[in-house]
Each structure stands twice: as structure tokens, then as C-alpha cells.
Symmetry: C2
Subunit: 181 residues, 2 copies
DNA sequence: GATCACATGTAAGAAGTTACATGATTCT
DNA sequence: AGAATCATGTAACTTCTTACATGTGATC
């Protein structure tokens, strides 16, 4: 099954938590600092129609005539698509280019059968590997960078090092949760 | 002057360091982990033509006939545009949605008159403000998030906390550099 | 019945992606 | 000459942005 955009999965996950209207979804984005999604109608409504076209969500007939509030909820296929997406392990490419997408996946993982532990294990490996790559670059070809460029590079490196520490704590928290029920 | 895309500024900055061809620029992106830019020709060449259309870069006539290597360099207007861009202070919105763009600006700031210190000062204020916002959310409306969602939120928070520490060190490094010449 | 908040939609354009096409040079 | 590599270009598609348009219900 072809995949949707980050926004598409964000909407699908939110609708899985609770059926909502496009307007509700916009308010989620405009009132919480959860992601970096735009609350613009020009993004949300087309994304919803995309999901409808894929038959991942549906609005229970109702609300004919005029433009009333349309509440969407996932179909069986939509729930399946969400599950499959949540089960995907983190790739190196996502670590480098799409960290937000990985965190979105994690955020919805409570709804998942296995819980976050397998995902976090894979993520830990990939993020450590990426830090090693960045460190190798800094020690090798990147050694002679001018001050500002080196500072900018170190910002990225420090960000990923923080994620290495975070993921270890996250794994511990998930383990503790599983043991204590 | 209207602004260009992140990729456009990346190209402009690189060409300011050293005149290059599109192919050279692609290799920069494919062989260094500096940014998250794609090395795809479908992004690079149209972006170069955009910069040419704006008269920010030019390829010294030469290389007529057939498809030979075309080496671009910034025009006077291009250098001016780069300078103005580098002089822009970091905004909160960029901190939240476009950290990479800020780091790109910093990376080219060695070429700048003032050096990175004013930029870093503004950046420090904005990133601290954003951390405070995230902490307020976690303590207030976000207090009841399920485990996975909270972990994902904390990943973001820890990333920004790491940037608060990084920016303090970066300011110290820039100060030390200025004093010691 | 005017006005405001709720709610959805759309058009135009920007910029990227993937995949393909093609010319020029160098190496064997 | 053939193959690999250097080098540029383009078409189709996707998705987002900004800005505008429009309908519906509640309140004054």
C-alpha cells in the first residue's frame, strides 16, 4: 500500500483516537505544540479527502445539504493501514531526514499491539549509527570547517546526541511500564 | 526582495565560498552530512535557474554549444542578497519550524561582516522561550498524555534543551574567537 | 436582521520527488 | 569503438502555502 504524507498519518492517528471534524483537527494543530503541522484549511481538507479517496477514513453520511460539520472516523482498512505503519521499524533515512515522522509514529504507538519497545530498540541502533557517522565526518573531512560552519554542524550533532540519551530513557520507561502493568 | 527556498540559499552560500557547477553542488550534498538536502538533479538544476532568473548568480558565458560544465558564481546582487539574509535575526517561527534554515544561515556567517554573535544572541533568546513554552504545555494541558505520546513530546523537548546548551557554548566560542583574533 | 464564530472549500503557485532522457569526455 | 563517468535537463506528480470564497448557526 502506497504511503501517505506525514500530515495524512497525523490525521489518521488523531481520528483513530477520537472521531473529529476537519475543524477539530485544525484546532489540535493550532492549540498544541505537538507537531509542526500547519492548521491551514488548504492543507487539512485536501489531506482528508485524500484519506477518504483511499477509504482509510469516512464521514458517516449525515450532514447532507450545505456545509455542515463532517465528523470523520477511520474505516477498518484505515485502522489496518495505521497498524502497519506503526509496525514499521525506524530507518536510517528517517533518522536523518524525517525525525518528526518517527516521533509521530511513536506518539500513536500506545494504540499499537506490541507497544513502543521494538520500535525504540531499532531507533536506538539507527540514531547511534548516525551519531557515529557525524563524529567520523567531524574528525575526518570536516576537520577544517570555519567557526560558524562547525558550530552549525555541532548543533546537529548535539541534537542527535540528546536523542541517544533520550531513547535510552524512553526504553527504560517503556520497560518499567510493561513490568508494572 | 522576496526570499528563496532553503535549497536556494544553500546553493547561493556555497557558490559564494567557491564558484561551482551544479554537479559539484550535488556532490557536496551527496558526500557530506552537512544538511538534509537532496542531491537530485530535479531539485538542483531548477533551483540554479531560479537564482539565475533573479540575477543572484551567473555562469560566465563560456561553455556554449552542447551540455558542458557550467560554473556559476554570485553576482553583486547575489552577494548583497546573501548578506541581507545572513543579517536576519532568528525568529520564533524559524526555531519551531525551520531549525535547519537557521543552522544554514549560521554556517555561512563566517563570510558575514558582524560574525555570528548577534545572531546567536537572538537565537538563544528564542530557543529558551520555546523551551519554556513546551515545558508549560507539559505541566499544563499536556500532563495527561499517554506514554508513547509523552515520550515523543519529550524527544522534542530534549532536542531543544540540547540546543539551549549548545547555543551557550557557541556564544562562548564566538566570543573567544573575537578576542583572540 | 446584522454580525460573529463555526466550518468547509478552492485556486494559483512554489518547490520538491522520482524517473527518465541525453549530451560530452575519458578510459581501456 | 564501447563503456563508464561526468553533467545537465525535463516531465509528471505530490503536497504544501497563501489568499480568497462561501455557507451555517447562534447571539445581540
Amino acid at each position: 500500500m502506497a504511503h501517505d504524507s506525514t500530515l495524512g498519518y497525523a490525521l489518521l492517528g488523531l481520528l483513530h483516537q477520537l472521531p473529529r471534524s476537519g475543524y477539530d483537527l485544525r484546532k489540535v494543530f493550532s492549540t498544541t505544540p505537538i507537531g509542526r503541522f500547519s492548521d491551514s484549511p488548504g492543507a487539512i481538507y485536501p489531506a482528508l479527502r485524500r484519506l477518504v479517496r483511499r477509504r482509510w477514513i469516512a464521514a458517516p453520511a449525515a450532514a447532507r445539504g450545505g456545509r455542515r460539520r463532517r465528523v470523520y472516523e477511520p474505516t477498518a482498512a484505515g485502522r489496518r493501514a495505521l497498524s502497519e505503519w506503526l509496525a514499521r521499524p525506524a530507518t536510517r533515512d528517517e533518522v536523518v531526514r524525517d525525525w518528526d515522522l518517527l516521533m509521530l509514529r511513536l506518539a500513536f504507538m500506545t494504540e499499537n499491539a506490541q507497544g513502543p519497545e521494538p520500535f525504540l530498540a531499532g531507533l536506538a541502533a539507527e540514531v547511534r549509527g548516525h551519531v557515529a557517522e557525524l563524529e567520523a565526518f567531524l574528525a575526518g573531512p570536516g576537520a577544517g570547517m570555519p567557526l560558524s560552519a562547525r558550530l552549525a554542524f555541532e548543533s546537529g550533532l548535539e541534537g542527535y546526541r540528546a536523542q541517544v540519551r533520550w531513547v535510552a530513557r524512553a526504553q527504560a520507561a517503556a520497560r518499567a511500564r510493561r513490568r508494572s502493568g
